[in-house]
Symmetry: C2
Subunit: 398 residues, 2 copies
């Protein structure tokens, strides 16, 4: 994958980032890999249309990679675009049509200003019934947070602990957009104002962390990022040609839910996360307790809390408490977002699901460096489109 | 499918058209079908982003159909979006993950004016290297036509014969946008000017058929349309539960090519059409001569001529002559675009590939009414993205 970043790729088109990621993917194959040996390409890209005024980006990437005439298809499912592309690639191999496929994602977002990006992202909600009345995603997830606080007594401080933890992890990930703890960021920002912080909470509760949509503040929201990520999938038989230590796909799942949040019976969980993870667990023949680490879709801090419950790691309402207790940190019993998550690693929308595969590959092969989880066997990747209108899950095994 | 039309759906959103098409698809299943029995949905939509300012349309359609939580994924490959969605659905079933899937496509284009639609469609070309210097699709296909004329001596009159033939077929298709022959249209338009035509060629060579991009005139171009189409795919075993006369998928293919036309070694054929059809023929274990009818992607008349050569129906350079000799008409030896093609049936971009499946279903079951081809066994559907950056092919068997 490229680094996910809000500035670093300013001069690059999506095709340049995608090629960079694909070449790194090929380079990470132990016995070498020629991209032309791929049978197909599945590309996640949320809105090339709005961000680059470019459609047909699957063919664009195949061309840029020099792998014509291999078939290339773009998959779009809002922020779960490349999670869905990964599932497509897995199915393509399972179908027997191909032995090896490229899956990946890219998003070039920083062509637009922050307000325009927020409006473009709101296209992933129901434009007629949500965006039309002023809802953008911070507002929708704020509604989820408020409902979660009300129902379970979870607190904003628990959400802040999620952000603090994900920045600690991002510090250890050279591909992360933010490689600083929140305290470090606090003192960098504070310095300009003549302020010093000893505790990140003092910063997070200050005006320097402004309210975006009550109760969510700026540091509850993931950033806007450019980036690309690519993975190479192969059938079990063929994979052995390329490496002695492949990472296996043990199970996958995908589910849909109502587009509009107001059409759900309740706001404190995402049904699609439950359904998709159940499918993946059953296919993998494991239980949530067997998962040793997870990348979950923390577009907002509350989303990580809700995901950690929906995926069965903690009881409903206990996700925030678990985060505050450190159970989801690198040394906890259920490490979540070891790569920094969307919060610190960044969230180039269409690349996020594919970026999770990169973390799974590194962790399950014991190559995650300073952020390596101890001896993991199973890892889970969870990618959410919008407020859960789409959720994809993959369970990986070393 | 809905009727494809430029006015009829003006008051409808894409979701309403898609539901209409899906309900008709379910209603066409001999022993009945509940949409909720689908395992997944694959939706082709080229640019919901630009046309409806809506992303995440896969979840939108699943919601509108009331089939949550079944997984739904949008597939985009320019004008081959739903051809690619059909291939995805076929792979999904082949993977063993699902027994029945919905595949389909939709495009709501008439939210924009004609110029804006042309600009939006140009996003399927290489925006940086083609659209940026003024190329839109009429210009790109005009370059193909000019090259074909130059290399093979084919003529504009042959292209006109393609248009005349496709309108004759469209007359017999209640779902077609234009259900009038070109002569009928000529006299309707002529009446306002006090003109009468006995021969469609007199109209087509007149100022009433203005030059769009030399040598292509207005009636060489398919129209702009709204519409949706849906097909239900099932594994062979499960299909028998629903009908005694299923239509079989005998082979599929898909290929990519350079985004930009200027990067190709020659302009008179689409390599991706050749590669994709070769895959499909080999999978079906048949030859081009075994195909009894075909729906090919005639976004411009020249595209049908080139396709009829690339798909192996006629020798290179002989496609135009074959059309003029009536070989591709309903009573010819190789009927092409029996449903009117993009030219007369209409071209709601994302729905076109799925609309071809509808024609295949009707023709191979002998239910195509007045436009029924005599006793067909094999039919081929050919869907092109842009100038062949993507091509999908399916071979169907009765």
């Amino acid at each position: 994958m490229t680094r996910f970043h809000h500035k670093e790729h300013a001069e690059k088109q999506s095709r340049e980032m995608f090629v960079e990621a694909a070449l790194e993917a090929a380079g990470s194959v132990d016995n070498g890999f020629n991209l032309k040996d791929s049978g197909a390409l599945y590309l996640g890209y949320f809105s090339s249309d709005m961000f680059e005024k470019q459609g047909h980006t699957s063919a664009l990437m195949a061309d840029a990679l020099g792998i014509n005439p291999i078939p290339a298809t773009r998959v779009e499912a809002a922020c779960a675009s490349s999670g869905a592309a990964v599932n497509m690639g897995i199915m393509a191999i399972a179908s027997g049509l191909y032995d090896v496929v490229l899956v990946g994602g890219v998003e070039k977002m920083r062509t637009l200003g922050t307000g325009e990006v927020t409006d473009t992202l709101a296209m992933a909600a129901d434009v007629s019934y949500e965006a039309a009345v002023g809802f953008t995603f911070p507002g929708l997830y704020a509604a989820i947070a408020a409902a979660h606080f009300d129902r379970y007594g979870s607190t904003w401080e628990q959400l802040a602990d999620v952000a603090i933890k994900n920045h600690e992890n991002g510090k250890l990930n050279p591909k992360a957009q933010y490689q600083e703890s929140i305290l470090e960021i606090a003192n960098k920002i504070g310095k300009r104002k003549g302020l010093e912080f000893d505790d990140p909470m003092d910063f997070l509760t200050s005006d320097l962390n402004p309210m975006v949509a009550d109760p969510l503040r700026l540091f509850d929201c993931c950033p806007i990022s450019d980036g690309a990520a690519v993975a190479i999938l192969a059938s079990e038989k063929v994979a052995k040609k390329y490496t002695d230590t492949p990472v296996y796909v043990a199970g996958i799942g995908q589910a849909s839910d109502t587009m509009a949040l107001h059409d759900r019976p309740e706001l404190t969980s995402l049904t699609a996360s439950k359904v998709a993870s159940k499918q993946a667990y059953e296919m993998a023949r494991i239980k949530p307790k067997d998962i040793n680490l997870a990348c979950v879709h923390d577009c907002f801090t509350i989303a990580e809390v809700v995901a950690s419950e929906d995926l069965g790691f903690f009881e409903p309402g206990m996700g925030g408490k678990a985060a505050s207790e450190g159970r989801t940190s690198l040394s906890g019993d259920k490490p979540i977002n070891t790569d920094g998550g969307l919060k610190a690693k960044g969230h180039p929308v269409g690349a996020t699901g594919a970026g999770m595969v990169v973390e799974m590959f590194k962790q399950l092969r014991g190559q995650a460096g300073e952020r390596q989880v101890s001896d993991p066997v199973y890892g889970l990747a969870h990618n959410v489109g919008a407020t859960g209108g789409t959720v994809t899950v993959q369970v990986y095994r070393r």
